[in-house]
């Protein structure tokens, strides 16, 4: 049976029309959820591959409204989550951003640097608008912190499978599975990401999490240029079939 896969892309990279075609290519290959990153000038949680894609999208004139337009179109094809940074949300106004996400049909928001307790009101705004706000949890999380996070009853939790930033390969061992085991007790749907680029990893995570998340591997493929749409579809198909 084919597993779930959340596939990530950077909005307006390499340009708006292509990013819509990329969503289609991902869904064609078997992606079951789409994570659309709204570029920010200073993406501190991202490695060089995604940083570069964000830079290029911004140089190409990306505006936050373009991001919502893309979400609206993508949401017709698959469930969509928006990923970005606090300043993008805050500058728009947290409630406005949540409302615009809802209007565009997004299912949830992953905002890397607005965490429970330091969220500037994001979780409250999400609750009142019926928008899922998805906290990130890391393997070094303490029990106390995990309790704080689960006390807000998130429907989804994004599990970063190692410390550090996006893009570097993660080696999965017993510890990774134990980490996912800890998270499973929370009752939330676990989205597991960071450093996942092979079918083997996806298969392994497919059993232990709600869905694996693959990001930099696709962005890297796009950066190589040429007929990347076909390659992305093939890569996605390979990932979901293990």
């Amino acid at each position: 049976m084919k597993g779930k896969l959340m596939a990530h892309l950077v909005a307006s990279y390499p340009n708006y029309d292509s990013s819509l075609a990329i969503v289609e290519a991902l869904v064609r290959g078997g992606a079951t959820m789409i994570e659309i990153q709204f570029p920010f000038s200073d993406p501190t949680a991202d490695g060089p591959v995604i940083q570069d894609a964000c830079r290029r999208a911004l140089d190409g004139g990306f505006r936050v409204d373009d991001g919502f337009r893309l979400v609206k179109e993508a949401a017709l094809l698959a469930p969509v989550f928006i990923m970005s940074y606090g300043n993008i949300v805050f500058s728009r106004g947290i409630e406005d951003f949540v409302a615009a996400s809802k209007d565009a049909g997004a299912l949830g928001l992953i905002i890397a640097d607005l965490t429970p307790g330091y969220d500037g009101g994001l979780y409250r705004a999400g609750r009142s608008a019926g928008m899922e706000i998805i906290p990130v949890v890391v393997p070094t999380v303490t029990d106390k912190r995990l309790e704080e996070i689960t006390s807000i009853h998130p429907a989804y939790i994004y599990a970063a499978m190692r410390v550090g930033i996006t893009g570097k390969r993660t080696d999965f061992g017993k510890e990774s599975i134990a980490f996912l085991g800890r998270l499973a007790t929370t009752g939330a749907r676990i989205l597991a990401g960071f450093g996942i680029s092979s079918g083997e990893q996806v298969a392994l995570l497919g059993d232990a999490a709600y869905s694996p998340v693959v990001g930099s591997a696709f962005v890297r493929e796009i950066a190589k240029g040429g007929d990347y749409l076909e390659r992305i579809t093939a890569l996605t198909a390979g990932l979901v079939s293990g």
Binding site: D42, D46, S91, V136, V163, I165
Partner: protein
């Protein structure tokens, strides 16, 4: 309270989840250290014997006479070892890192002053050191790269974003997200996620505490300091922020004009409230929240954000913000060199420029205290090119001839 974290609505700890653990750990260690006499004595001992504290407060007699107004005094932070105030904080945090058992230090640098201070302190205390520096800054401050490497540090060029100070901060944060178990991030300005603004201010407040003693009995009109991120300013102002006097004046980089991208003025109404690099403050950014390019002749003031405590004190009206242009800073550099035999760092020359303006119309019975946060030797490639371009270019060509010989 030593860790305030929020200053009015500014400050906070807005970081990716992974950085919570090291920041919590750092806050605890910092609180404990500041209660520990052994730690404080060690800091004081290194301040005295290694940095050369207390730094003098000089009466700028010739400058005062020439301007014919208020009496100008200069706090000579530039006489600190490595040439600027940056080393006060570097020593404090490096001692804290040792206390935490960290073996490795990472730091960002713009002009190179914080990088040099950190590299020197790591050599002194036996810590491994890596400094992130934007490619643009590496080009304009190459001599500082040489010094950092001489101290044994590894200097890593940052090619992302605008390739300047803010991008070096981003890269250091990324490194730390994966390396915190054995690494301390030695942030150089009074900004970033809590507890950095409190911690950097605390270690830099040695400047203000000395000044307070040195000006005892004087009638002081104002304290004047340049403001990039703001570490010298907040350290200098700190003992006075809860008092109504003297006036506290922060000077931002007016650059080459008032258009976005031509200066680094955040407190003149241009800065918008944002959450960037772990803290809420005023930033130069567009409507979407993307940070904007900045410009200053001094690499140390060329940064789009401002420390949260300064932003809070600005909003409250306790600190007044002014600006000095590239040209005014160069004029001040020349003025104090000719009249006082002192070469200001280009950053500090912005404070010097404001003091010149104020002294003109000032009360002769009152004193203006300028913080010369650094000395200007490091700027020779920029100052000489701006003030004596023909001779300087000739010199550079002659040098090249020798090597290409």
């Amino acid at each position: 309270m030593i860790v305030e974290s929020f200053f009015g609505s500014f400050g906070g700890r807005y970081v990716p989840e992974v950085l919570r653990t090291p920041l919590d750990e750092l806050e605890t260690a910092f609180r404990e250290a500041m209660e520990d006499e052994t730690f404080k004595n060690e800091f004081a001992r290194l301040c005295k014997n290694y940095i050369g504290r207390p730094t003098p407060l000089l009466f700028a007699e010739n400058a005062t006479e020439k301007l014919g107004g208020s009496r100008i005094y200069i706090k000579l932070e530039g006489l600190a070892n490595t040439g600027a105030h940056k080393i006060n904080n570097a020593i404090g945090q490096a001692l804290l890192a040792k206390r935490l058992g960290k073996k490795r230090i990472i730091a960002e640098t713009g002009a190179g002053q914080h990088g040099i201070a950190t590299a020197a302190v790591c050599a002194k205390l036996g810590l491994e050191c890596r400094v992130y520096m934007g490619e643009v800054d590496i080009k304009r401050q190459h001599p500082n790269v040489f010094w950092m490497e001489l101290y044994g540090a590894e200097v890593v060029p940052v090619g992302s974003g605008s390739r300047t100070l803010k991008d070096a901060v981003n890269e250091a944060l990324r490194d730390w997200a994966g390396s915190f178990p054995d690494t301390h991030y030695l942030l150089g300005s009074a900004l970033g996620p809590s507890p950095y603004p409190d911690m950097v201010r605390e270690f830099q407040s040695v400047i203000g505490k000395e000044t307070e003693k040195q000006i005892a009995g004087m009638e002081v009109e104002a304290l004047v300091a340049c403001v990039g991120g703001g570490s010298n300013a907040i350290g200098f102002f700190y003992p006075f922020i809860d008092k109504p006097f003297p006036r506290l004046i922060g000077v931002e980089a007016g650059g080459r004009g008032s258009l976005i991208g031509d200066n680094a003025c955040r407190m003149d109404g241009t800065g918008k409230i944002g959450i960037v690099q772990g803290y809420k403050s005023l930033f130069l950014m567009d409507d979407d929240g993307q940070l904007q390019a900045t410009h200053s002749i001094s690499a140390g003031l060329d940064y789009p954000g401002i420390g949260p405590q300064l932003a809070g004190l600005g909003k409250k009206g306790r600190i007044e913000f002014k600006k000095a242009s590239d040209t005014e800073a160069l004029d001040a550099l020349r003025f104090f060199a000719r009249n006082e035999g002192i070469i200001f760092a280009l950053e500090s020359a912005h404070a010097g420029a404001e003091a010149i303006k104020m002294a003109h119309n000032g009360d002769p019975e009152k004193a203006l205290i300028v913080n010369m946060s650094g000395r200007g030797d490091k700027d020779i490639f920029i100052s000489a090119m701006a003030l004596a371009p023909r001779d300087w270019i000739l010199f550079l060509k002659e040098e090249m001839k020798i090597y290409e010989g």
